[in-house]
Symmetry: C2
Subunit: 225 residues, 2 copies
């Protein structure tokens, strides 16, 4: 049964409908009571990969969120580990859950380990990951040749190498710090190869958003004897 | 569809089957793909409420977990915010998810706020909550007259008062640091009264365990285009 509608904001300009909806489909497969409505922002073919591209994206994300709220969604997912414009959207979302992938990913990682390695696309780990993980963030690595989400498709070898290095650094869990990794099923591949937990940012966000949808709408019913 | 069987260990001795299964039912209602199998430990009618009662419970919890694993469960939930014997059980669970309520509750709280108040039954907050929340744990309170999970049923007024004080201390989210609160639907009541998020420990654990069940068994399928 579809109980909840989640609006998904892709922070990269995409033409292909299947690609735009890819992250939403992951959420739907994991949580059958969720259906998703996905839109992407305009004029950012490389997505968000540094401060300037994040700044440029922020007002577009707020505008996209406004449209999704007008469509009546029950929650908003900004599909980016940097949680861009999430605070701004919360101010207009009237208590509806609004999340990026960053905080949920950090939260899931902390639930299972205190030695977390983050794999990302920027010079530094995404801010919400660094802030929430604190000392549990024991290593950050960026695959060689990767500086934007659009590089992920062509960089599987470098991604595997960077993940192995994170494990060598002592990481007991790897958190994928860019939702572009979700598009290519990277978490499943790495987990199979490395034999340690690898957290997918879209699945992490789906779990937290699902919990928040339940908490804000069904808590009384669930806790009833 | 029931995909996953979760073994639930109640760390208090209960006779009534409905009471033993109460926490498992919350998990099942929230996640229809989970079914639960609940058992309780013997000779601890007051449950776990201090170091000595936790020490006494630990080998019984391990033994209960062993029985559940023999029954073929896919994951184990030790229904206690102190996460007792969780590390021991992981050593015999062959990679299957094993969680108490403590770390999952802390993780959920961090996903939504950095100002968390904890309501509990002990002199100190449960260790996994204190350790994982770190500086985000801004206040801990125990309701007047409450020193064990068995006091919760009779203490609604004191619980409400303690929760109001947590909010007064600046807490933006309240995490209920004893799964006894789940038995009485405390989170739903407090949330309605206080108007801030109140996290139920059993629901938090269910969310994290559900994510881990998916991650360990269905990740490839979910991330497939």
């Amino acid at each position: 049964m579809k109980r909840f509608r989640v609006g998904v904001i892709r922070v990269i300009t995409l033409e292909d409908r299947g690609l735009i909806e890819r992250h939403g489909r992951i959420m739907e497969k994991a949580y059958p009571d969720i259906e998703t409505l996905s839109i992407c922002i305009e004029d950012q073919p490389k997505g968000i990969f540094d401060e300037s591209s994040e700044k440029m994206a922020a007002p577009k994300i707020v505008e996209a969120g406004r449209r999704l709220l007008e469509e009546g969604v029950d929650a908003i997912f900004v599909s980016c580990a940097g949680d861009p414009a999430v605070e701004d959207l919360r101010r207009i979302a009237a208590g509806k859950p609004v999340f990026g992938a960053g905080k949920p990913l950090a939260a899931l990682a902390l639930a299972i380990s205190s030695k977390v390695g983050v794999l990302g696309i920027g010079e530094e780990p995404p801010r919400p990951l660094a802030a929430t993980l604190g000392d549990a963030l024991i290593s950050y690595r960026r695959p060689s040749g990767v500086s934007a989400t659009t590089d992920i498709a062509e960089s599987l070898g470098a991604i595997i190498e960077a993940a192995r290095r994170l494990r060598g650094d002592g990481a007991e869990v790897i958190a994928l710090g860019c939702t572009g990794f979700s598009t290519f099923g990277t978490a499943a591949r790495l987990q199979r190869l490395l034999g340690i937990p690898v957290l997918d940012p879209v699945l992490a966000a789906a779990s937290i958003i699902h919990h928040e949808l339940i908490r804000t709408s069904r808590l009384g019913e669930l806790l009833e004897a």
